[in-house]
């Protein structure tokens, strides 16, 4: 998937009919949104509206919005949506984010990173 555009149009990314996800987390974020929708957490209309809003916000922040940051917008939309729908609050996400960061820190390079209960209970670094 090349970002050098053979088109006369600067910045319009093109690809062959290649893979649709750049990195595994993109696929995860995609699938999670689908599952939550299927479970009735939100309607697809709500999703499209929230995503469009997120993309607009990102552009206002200066994101060139060339399609390569699409799943970043998607993930941010998902985080906002689960918080709004009460599936997972911002605090909970922060707690787990911190826990994962801590787990990554204590895990030697090359080993799989696993979350332990202690990662969650230890107080946040001031």
């Amino acid at each position: 998937m090349s970002r050098d555009s053979p088109l006369g149009l600067p910045g319009l990314p093109r690809d062959s009919e290649g893979p649709v996800f750049k990195e595994p987390w993109e696929a995860k974020a995609f699938a999670m949104a689908l599952r939550l929708h299927e479970r009735g957490v939100f309607t697809w209309n709500e999703w499209a509206e929230a995503l469009a809003h997120e993309i607009g916000t990102a552009r206002a922040r200066g994101d060139a919005d060339l399609g390569d940051t699409y799943y970043e917008h998607w993930l941010r939309t998902l985080e906002g949506m689960v918080a709004r729908k009460g599936a997972a609050s911002g605090d909970e996400l922060d707690r787990y984010q911190h826990a994962w960061a801590q787990a990554a820190e204590r895990t030697p390079h090359g080993s799989p990173i696993e979350l332990r209960p202690a990662d969650l209970t230890e107080p946040t670094v001031p």
């Binding site: 600067p10 996800f21 995609f30 469009a52 060139a64 399609g67 997972a88």
Partner: protein, 183 residues
């Protein structure tokens, strides 16, 4: 990302194994080939073509392809006088059941903005030049309505089977940024 997955998994909203199945399905099983089969069928079967243009959701479902978002499908037919192109100006709604997931350029602001203002210019960038007399119509997708372009059948393909014809149908030809390949 991992935090989100952990929280949602623990609360029972998602199941990591089910997510993997979903990803696998979208990466390898659903893709532009579904759409190509729809197009090839429409080229070979006038009755199916009529049903596709009348009620694309039902016609496409009859081949076993169905959306997960309950989206309504509309097929728009290219002719010698009219060329159709599809965009989603707001986000990137896309006919997943038939085309899989959208390419990067479809999700990019330059495409989303320019195809509306200068569709002929965008086509040229994709290497397609249409006669001036051909009108271009651009369809803006929504969460509820997704479009599939039914490209023109290439000339001199009367002898080809439906499977061979499907091989001529590119993803871009079903978005309208390309034409079906010549055999």
């Amino acid at each position: 990302m991992r935090a989100l997955e952990t929280v949602l998994t623990q609360k029972g909203y998602v199941d990591p194994a089910a997510l993997d199945v979903l990803i696998e399905t979208y990466q390898t099983k659903i893709g532009p080939r579904n759409g190509a089969r729809v197009v090839a069928r429409a080229w070979c079967d006038a009755e199916f073509r009529r049903r596709l243009l009348d009620d694309a959701t039902a016609a496409i479902a009859s081949l076993g392809f169905q959306g997960r978002q309950g989206e309504h499908m509309v097929a728009v037919e290219n002719t010698a006088e009219l060329h159709n192109m599809v965009v989603c100006t707001l986000c990137s709604c896309y006919p997943w059941p038939v085309l899989g997931l959208p390419p990067t350029w479809y999700k990019s602001a330059p495409y989303r903005a320019r195809v509306v203002k200068d569709p002929r210019g965008v086509l040229k960038d994709f290497g397609v030049t249409l006669p001036e007399a051909v009108r271009i119509r651009v369809w803006d997708s929504t969460a509820e309505v997704r479009y599939l372009v039914l490209p023109q059948r290439p000339a001199a393909t009367e002898h080809l089977t439906e499977t061979e014809l499907a091989d001529l149908v590119t993803r871009d030809s079903m978005i309208g940024t390309g034409l079906a390949r010549a055999p």
